[in-house]
C-alpha cells in the first residue's frame, strides 16, 4: 500500500495542471467569456514548454513559453468572442482543434516526423531537495490565493466581476467591456498554457498527443464544481487530482480491487458524477457566454 505522504504529494502533483487551467477558466468566465478551448491551450502550452525546455535545457524558460503559447491561442479566442461576437462554444471547440493540430504538426517538423518530443533532461524542481512535492503544486496554490485576492480586493478584480455580471452597467460607468474581456481571456490562455507545461515539465517528460488527455475539460468541471470561486476551484482540482492518483495507485498494486478499465476511467467518472450532482447548485456569472452589444434604444 502506498504511504499517505505519497498519496498527498502525488495528489498535489496531479492537481497542479488542473489548478492552473481551472483558474484560467475562472478568470475568463468571471469576465463573461466561456472558454472551453482550455484543453487546446493546455496542449499547445505543453508542446511549447517541452520544446523550449528541450532546446534550451531550461525548464523554467519552457514554463514561460508554454504560458505564452497558450496566451497566443487565447488571443484568437478573445478576438473571435469579444470583437466578432462569435459563438463562444464554437470558437472554443475551434481552439481545441487548433491546439493539438498545430502542436502535432510542429512536433513532426521539429522532431524528425516523430509524434512525441524528445524527453527533457531537467524537470521542474521539487520544493525542497529530497521532498516529493512539485514546485508547480506550490505555485498553483499561491496562484489560487493570489487570484482570490485580486478578485476580492483590487480594482481590476472588481471590474472583471462587474463585466461578467452586468456588462451594460460597467459600460455605463465608462469601463471598457471589450478591454477587460480580451485581457481576461488572454490571461486565461496563459494560465492554461502553464497548466499544460506543468504536465510535461513536472509529471511526464515529453509531449505526446495524449499527454493532456481531457484535463482541460476536467478543469472546466472543477471550476463549475468550485462555483467560479478561485479557492473553491483549487479544492475541486485537488479532488480531481486525488481521483487520478487513486486510479494510478490502485491500478499499480498487485491486489487490484477493481478491473483496470474501471480504474482508468475513474477520474472521468468522478468528473461526470460531480457535474451531475453539483452543477445545479452552482450559479454562473450572469453574463457568462453572452457577447456584449450596446442596445440600440
Amino acid at each position: 500500500m502506498p504511504s499517505l505522504l505519497f498519496i498527498l504529494s502525488a495528489t498535489l502533483m496531479y492537481s497542479a495542471p488542473l489548478v492552473f487551467a481551472a483558474l484560467g477558466g475562472v478568470i475568463s468566465e468571471r469576465s463573461g467569456v466561456i472558454n472551453i478551448g482550455i484543453e487546446g491551450m493546455m496542449v499547445i502550452g505543453a508542446f511549447a514548454a517541452t520544446t523550449t525546455a528541450h532546446f534550451t535545457g531550461n525548464p523554467w524558460l519552457g514554463f514561460v513559453f508554454g504560458g505564452l503559447a497558450g496566451g497566443i491561442l487565447a488571443l484568437l479566442h478573445a478576438v473571435a468572442c469579444v470583437f466578432l461576437k462569435a459563438d463562444q462554444t464554437i470558437s472554443g471547440v475551434a481552439m481545441n482543434l487548433i491546439g493539438p493540430g498545430l502542436s502535432m504538426f510542429l512536433c513532426g517538423v521539429l522532431f524528425d516526423g516523430n509524434s512525441t518530443t524528445t524527453p527533457i533532461k531537467n524537470k521542474l524542481p521539487k520544493i525542497l531537495v529530497g521532498s516529493d512535492i512539485d514546485i508547480a503544486s506550490l505555485m498553483s496554490l499561491l496562484l489560487s490565493v493570489l487570484i482570490w485576492f485580486v478578485f476580492s480586493s483590487t480594482k481590476w478584480g472588481l471590474r472583471v466581476r462587474a463585466v461578467g455580471e452586468n456588462p451594460a452597467a460597467a459600460d455605463s460607468l465608462g469601463i471598457s467591456v471589450s478591454k477587460i474581456r480580451v485581457f481576461s481571456v488572454i490571461l486565461s490562455g496563459i494560465l492554461a498554457g502553464f497548466g499544460g507545461s506543468a504536465i510535461t515539465l513536472g509529471i511526464v517528460t515529453q509531449f505526446s498527443s495524449s499527454c493532456v488527455a481531457g484535463q482541460g475539460f476536467m478543469a472546466l468541471s472543477a471550476l463549475i464544481f468550485g462555483k467560479w470561486k478561485p479557492f473553491n476551484t483549487y479544492l475541486a482540482c485537488l479532488f480531481f487530482g486525488f481521483a487520478q492518483v487513486l486510479s494510478i495507485t490502485l491500478n499499480s498494486g498487485s491486489e487490484s480491487v477493481l478491473p483496470p478499465v474501471i480504474l482508468a476511467i475513474l477520474p472521468y467518472l468522478l468528473t461526470i458524477s460531480v457535474l451531475i450532482f453539483f452543477v445545479g447548485k452552482s450559479v454562473a456569472p450572469k453574463a457568462n457566454g453572452v457577447p456584449y452589444e450596446k442596445s440600440m434604444l
Binding site: S153, T154, K155, W156, L158, R159, R161, A162, E165, N166, A168, A169, A170, D171, S172, L173, G174, I175, K286, K294, M296, L297
Partner: protein, 569 residues
C-alpha cells in the same frame, strides 16, 4: 423651437440640431433644447417620442448623427459615458445599471475606485467618502447590503449615490418613478429638489404628469422627435395642456360594424390562477367569457397579467388552478397543439419572435400551424405546390406586398406586411376563438385600419375574438365589451353596446397618463390582498361588475372604484 436662445453659461445643457436615426427610423430630427442651470427640467413625451434617446446621447451611450452639445456654454464632445462622467453628468437609467451580486459600496465605487498604487482597493477611504456624500443628501443606505437584497427605492438611491460620488452636477433620470411606491416618490422628489439648492441641474424623462407638476420647474414636450414646446411649470399649468401637447390627435379609424349579436360562449376562463416566470401569482381568480360574434377587449397597462392570460390559454404556461374552456371543453394544461386543434388561433404580440419564422419563406410561414393537414403534407412530405398556391391565395386576399412574395423569406417583408401575413394565416384557420395580442403594434395608420377591419369582419362571421391591447383607443374603437385587467384581476366589464359608441374623449387620454401614478399605490395594496379580500374580488366578478366608459382608463391605472366616484364629483 428656442433656436434664438444664445449659447450661454447660464445653461447647464444646450443641445443644437441633434439628429439621430436607427436604421431607417428617424428618432430625433433637428432637436434643440436649453436646460437652465439649477432647475429641474422635465422631458415629457409618449413612449418612443425620442426622449430617452436624447438623454442617451447626452450621456454618451449613443452618438448623434449630427448636432452639437454645449455644457455650461462650452461646446463639448461626448463620445462615451466616460466622457459624460468627466463632464460631471450622471445618469440614472430606467432599468438600473447595478450589479445584483455586488454590495452597495462596490456598486458605487465601480469604475471610480480609490486604490493604492498597486491597484488594491482602499475600501475604508471609499466608505468614508460615500458616507459623507450620502449624509449630505440624506440618502441613508446600508453600504454592505447586497443590491439584490434591497428594495427598488433603495436601488435607486444607490444609483443617485453613484452619480453624486462622481461629483455629477447634471443628473439625468430616465422614468425615475416607474418602479417606486408613492412614499418613495415623495422621497425622491424631496431629494431632487434639494439638488437644486446646490445649483445642480436635474433632467427628468417621464410620461407621468403628476410628477412633473410636483417636481419640475420647466417642461419640454417631445413628440416624434420634435421639441413641441417648453413650458414653465407654475401653479396654473394645467395637466390637460401638457397631455394635449404630448399626444397627436388620433384620427380614429372609421370602422363600420354590424349589430352586436352574440352567440354561445366560446371561451370561458374561470377562476384562473397562474404564476409568472418569477413564480409570483400573475393572474388571481381571473374570469372572463367571450361569446361568438363578440370582440372582447382586455384593457390594461403592460405587465398586469395579459401575457400570462394569453400563455395560459394557448398552453404555453402551466395553470395553477381554475379552468379554461373552449366550446365547453377544458383545455388548460394541455399542449399548444391541443389548443390549436380546438380551433383557437392567436395573433402573437411579437410577430418577429413568436408569430413568424422570419427565415422561412412566406409560403412556409403561411402553413406553419397546419402543415400536418392532408392538404399540405402526405406521409411527412410537404406538398410544396399546394402550399404555394395556398400562400398565393392569402397574399392576394389580404393584399400582402410585394404580391409575388410566396418564395421569399418573411424577413424581407415590411413590418406591416409581416403582420398581415401572420393575421392572414391565423384567420385562414377559421378559428372559433381568435386571440389578437397587440395586433397593430408598430404599424402605420393605414395598416392599423386594415387590421381593425379584418377583426370586425371576423366578428361578423361569428367568431369570438379576444383582443388584448395596451392602446385603450384601439380597444374602445373595436370592442363590443371591454374588461379591465389590473394586477392579475379582472376589475369589471364595460358593455359598449349598452352605452352608445361615443368617441373617446381627450379627457380619457390625459387620464391614461395621470393615473399611471396610482398604479403603484394600489399595487402595494393589492400585494397585501388577504384571502378574504380575494374572495370578495372573486364574488364581485361573478356579479360581473358593470363599468361605465370613463372608469376604464381610471381602473387600468390602478385607481379604485370608490376613488373614482369621489374624483368626478
Amino acid at each position: 423651437m428656442s433656436l434664438e436662445t444664445q449659447i450661454s453659461p447660464k445653461y447647464a445643457v444646450q443641445m443644437r440640431g441633434i439628429l439621430k436615426s436607427f436604421g431607417a427610423k428617424k428618432v430625433l430630427s433637428e432637436f434643440n433644447i436649453d436646460i437652465k442651470k439649477g432647475t429641474v427640467h422635465a422631458l415629457l413625451g409618449e413612449n418612443g417620442a425620442g426622449k430617452s434617446t436624447l438623454m442617451n446621447i447626452l450621456y454618451g451611450l449613443h452618438r448623434a448623427d449630427c448636432g452639437k452639445i454645449f455644457l455650461n456654454g462650452k461646446a463639448t464632445n461626448i463620445r462615451s459615458p466616460a466622457d459624460a462622467i468627466k463632464n460631471k453628468i450622471g445618469m440614472v437609467h430606467q432599468h438600473f445599471m447595478l450589479i445584483d451580486k455586488f454590495t452597495v459600496l462596490e456598486n458605487v465605487i465601480l469604475g471610480n475606485e480609490t486604490t493604492n498604487k498597486f491597484g488594491i482597493l482602499n475600501i475604508k477611504k471609499a466608505r468614508d467618502r460615500i458616507l459623507k456624500v450620502s449624509r449630505k443628501h440624506g440618502l441613508n443606505i446600508d453600504l454592505d447590503a447586497k443590491v439584490e437584497d434591497i428594495s427598488v427605492g433603495m436601488q435607486q438611491r444607490v444609483e443617485i449615490l453613484k452619480a453624486l460620488y462622481r461629483d455629477a452636477d447634471i443628473l439625468i433620470f430616465d422614468e425615475p418613478t416607474a418602479v417606486l411606491s408613492p412614499a418613495e416618490i415623495e422621497d425622491f422628489i424631496r431629494i431632487i429638489r434639494k439638488f437644486i439648492l446646490e445649483d445642480k441641474t436635474v433632467i427628468i424623462v417621464t410620461h407621468k404628469l403628476r410628477e412633473i407638476m410636483n417636481s419640475a420647474d420647466k417642461c419640454t414636450i417631445i413628440r416624434s422627435g420634435i421639441n413641441v414646446d417648453t413650458l414653465d411649470i407654475t401653479e396654473k399649468t394645467c395637466q390637460k395642456d401638457l397631455a394635449q401637447g404630448m399626444i397627436c390627435s388620433f384620427t380614429g379609424s372609421n370602422v363600420k360594424r354590424d349589430k352586436f349579436n352574440p352567440g354561445n360562449v366560446v371561451l370561458r376562463v374561470k377562476n384562473l390562477n397562474t404564476k409568472n416566470e418569477k413564480k409570483v401569482l400573475a393572474l388571481k381568480n381571473f374570469s372572463l367569457e367571450v361569446r361568438a360574434g363578440e370582440i372582447l377587449g382586455v384593457a390594461g397597462v403592460d405587465g398586469n397579467g395579459q401575457k400570462e392570460l394569453v400563455d395560459s390559454i394557448t398552453g404555453l404556461l402551466k395553470v395553477e388552478s381554475g379552468t379554461i374552456e373552449i366550446n365547453g371543453k377544458q383545455i388548460q394544461n394541455t399542449s399548444p397543439r391541443n389548443v390549436l386543434d380546438n380551433k383557437v388561433s392567436i395573433i402573437h404580440e411579437d410577430r418577429s419572435k413568436v408569430g413568424l419564422i422570419l427565415d422561412y419563406t412566406v409560403a412556409e410561414n403561411s402553413v406553419i400551424t397546419k402543415y400536418r393537414s392532408a392538404n399540405f403534407s402526405k406521409h411527412g412530405i410537404l406538398k410544396r405546390k399546394s402550399i404555394r398556391s395556398f400562400a398565393k391565395n392569402l397574399i392576394e386576399k389580404y393584399n400582402i406586398k410585394p404580391n409575388n412574395c410566396a418564395n421569399i423569406p418573411a424577413r424581407n417583408l415590411s413590418g406591416g406586411n409581416q403582420q398581415k401575413l401572420a393575421i392572414a394565416r391565423e384567420i385562414s384557420n377559421e378559428p372559433d376563438l381568435l386571440i389578437a395580442v397587440q395586433p397593430t403594434r408598430g404599424l402605420d395608420i393605414g395598416a392599423v385600419e386594415h387590421v381593425h377591419n379584418v377583426l370586425i369582419e371576423e366578428r361578423s362571421k361569428g367568431r369570438a375574438i379576444l383582443l388584448i391591447s395596451l392602446e385603450i383607443d384601439e380597444i374602445l374603437q373595436i370592442s363590443d365589451t371591454v374588461c379591465v385587467i389590473y394586477n392579475g384581476c379582472n376589475l369589471g366589464e364595460f358593455d359598449r353596446n349598452a352605452a352608445d359608441g361615443k368617441k373617446v374623449t381627450n379627457k380619457k387620454k390625459s387620464d391614461k397618463r395621470t393615473l399611471d401614478e396610482k398604479e403603484t399605490i394600489s399595487k402595494k395594496e393589492s400585494d397585501k390582498t388577504t384571502p378574504d379580500e380575494k374572495e370578495t374580488i372573486n364574488k364581485k366578478e361573478s356579479d360581473k361588475r358593470i363599468l361605465d366608459e370613463k372608469e376604464i382608463g381610471f381602473l387600468m391605472m390602478g385607481g379604485r372604484k370608490n376613488d373614482y366616484s369621489r374624483k368626478i364629483s
